[in-house]
């Protein structure tokens, strides 16, 4: 795949996929609608979703699930279908880059299958956790589920560059470490690519910015838990956009006071310093996601004929799914409107 994507793409190729994505983006729920959704009950939300892009999935899953579970699974299925659609409507470099980016979900699925198999959960239960939206399709993951042992599942990836990581699991490595290594592999395999063209540069920078966000979330999360700098560093993904490994090491070793001072100036901190000092970690994560999404929207409008509008859409779609899920689950568990609103990332 790496050899294929080091090539130039015609502007007309971008124009097609960007135009398609523009149409898809118009179907995203506008930010004003969230205020209405927040005031609806669960049935009204389901009815609202029946009038949107999610109708097909809700109708399809209604015989298996009900209530909030139905909404939840419909949202996941819609997400996986939307991403698959993006792969199908794109071609050439754009397709390669989209598949490369959506491989995130392959690792998500592999992790869930390994977890499920290791802890003796049924195939049905594991299947419910899968989002086939990357390089491997649903049938491939079903074939993995049919396998009896972890060894057999790991062997199915023989020849893949991440096979040695999976093999560690067979040799007794902790699952959590293997999961983190897979995530690191995913990001570094993209971020370490050489930017042969401007299109590639946009793509790699996008992923490297995501690495910054993920690393910052990890540092804040582990620092507030009092984890040692060495352990924090073992979870840091290299090739950050602005937050290099060396800087991450420095931040990890600082005490919280110094840390709050040192984070000023990073592109993702913006006006978040106060929130990072005072808010619970989950809210900080939300705020960082919001800053990232806003930055991507801005960047994608600056470079309209590039992969960036597609990547921004992928990001916004995920945020929309998360928001809808938060509203539905929040309503189902009788959380107050304000509490739910605080959890949303409205871009």
């Amino acid at each position: 795949m790496i050899s294929k994507i080091i090539r130039r793409t015609k502007i007309s190729e971008w124009a097609y996929i960007v135009a398609r994505v523009k149409v898809m983006r118009r179907k995203l729920i506008p930010r004003d609608e969230y205020a209405k959704l927040l005031n609806m009950d669960l049935h009204e939300i389901a009815r609202y979703l029946e009038e949107t892009e999610y109708k097909k999935e809700i109708d399809e899953l209604a015989y298996r699930y009900s209530g909030v579970d139905l909404i939840d699974h419909a949202l996941s299925l819609n997400l996986s279908r939307t991403y698959t659609k993006l792969i199908n409507i794109s071609k050439g470099l754009s397709k390669d880059l989209i598949v490369l980016y959506l491989r995130k979900w392959d690792f998500w699925n592999i992790k869930n299958i390994l977890r499920g198999k290791m802890f003796g959960f049924s195939n049905d239960e594991i299947e419910a956790t899968l989002v086939p939206a990357g390089e491997f399709d649903e049938d491939f993951f079903k074939s993995l589920l049919a396998k009896e042992s972890i060894e057999e599942i790991v062997d199915a990836f023989k020849g893949k560059p991440f096979y040695p990581i999976l093999q560690k699991l067979v040799h007794g490595e902790k699952l959590s470490n293997v999961e983190d290594e897979l995530d690191k592999f995913y990001y570094t395999s993209i971020a370490s690519l050489s930017a042969e063209s401007i299109d590639m540069k946009y793509f790699i920078d996008f992923v490297r910015m995501e690495i910054d966000i993920v690393n910052m979330k990890t540092i804040i999360r582990l620092k507030k838990e009092g984890i040692s700098p060495e352990e924090i560093m073992s979870k840091i993904i290299p090739y950050g956009y602005q937050l290099s490994e060396e800087e991450a090491r420095k931040l990890s070793a600082m005490d919280l006071e110094e840390f709050y001072k040192a984070i000023e100036g990073y592109w993702f901190i913006d006006h978040l310093k106060e929130a990072i000092m005072t808010q619970p970690i989950s809210k900080i994560e939300n705020a960082l996601t919001k800053v990232w999404a806003e930055r991507m929207i801005k960047k994608s409008s600056n470079y309209p004929l590039s992969i960036l509008p597609v990547l921004a859409y992928i990001l916004l779609k995920k945020i929309e799914i998360d928001n809808l899920r938060i509203i539905a689950r929040g309503k189902a568990s009788e959380m107050s409107v304000d509490e739910i609103r605080e959890q949303l990332v409205i871009v």
Binding site: S76, T129, E179, R221, S282
Partner: protein
């Protein structure tokens, strides 16, 4: 109560009455002590139960939030990584002769780094839900310990109460009745002897005259 109306029996009975009265007083003191202990623990129990209810609500909220923010799929997959059930060791403690359990919790709460799921691919909401549930398990074990202690204390208070009542209203009065009976009987026998002696004396005097 079947007793032999003898002086020896009376002495024995009096000793037993003294002993029973001492025992009664001691048991009464024990009962009162247990009740006081029960009341103190009851206050603790109320606090611990309230804490558990609060933690339960909090855990439910955090779980809902984790499910809402990360989706059932994510939460389920994290749940899949739960490796072992929380365990505890049971020790014993003595409160005024009542053996009550002391539940020693084995550390249920693990730090984020020790948990069996990757850090990079998960969010802090899941940590918060895991934390909240681990705190809930601690609270449940605390309630289990205090509830068992309360149950054992109630049983012991009941048992002591029955003993106090039995001594107060049955054993001691019966022994006192028996002692009184023996006394009457002995006095009766004394009087009979005096009369007998008087009669012998008057017969002797008549014969001499």
């Amino acid at each position: 109560m079947e007793v032999q109306p003898t002086r020896m029996e009376l002495i024995k009975l009096r000793r037993r009455i003294v002993m029973a009265k001492k025992g009664h007083a001691l048991l009464k003191m024990k009962r009162d002590g247990l009740i006081m202990e029960f009341r103190t623990i009851l206050e603790d129990a109320k606090r611990v139960i309230e804490e558990m209810v609060h933690r339960y609500r909090e855990a439910q909220e955090k779980l809902a939030l984790a499910m809402a923010a990360d989706g059932v799929i994510a939460v389920k997959s994290i749940a899949l990584s739960v490796e072992k059930e929380p365990s505890f060791t049971l020790k014993r403690k003595n409160i005024m002769g009542v053996v009550v359990p002391v539940i020693k919790r084995e550390v249920v709460r693990k730090s984020v780094a020790e948990r069996n799921y990757g850090i990079i691919g998960t969010t802090a909401r899941i940590d918060e839900a895991v934390d909240a549930y681990e705190a809930l398990i601690d609270a449940i074990l605390e309630v289990a310990e205090i509830e068992t202690t309360l149950k054992r204390l109630i049983e012991e208070i009941e048992r002591t109460k029955r003993r106090v009542n039995a001594l107060e209203f049955r054993v001691i009065p019966e022994m006192e009745d028996a002692a009184r009976y023996i006394m009457f009987k002995l006095e009766e026998m004394d009087r009979e002897n005096i009369i007998r002696l008087k009669k012998i004396k008057s017969k002797k005097e008549k014969a001499e005259a």
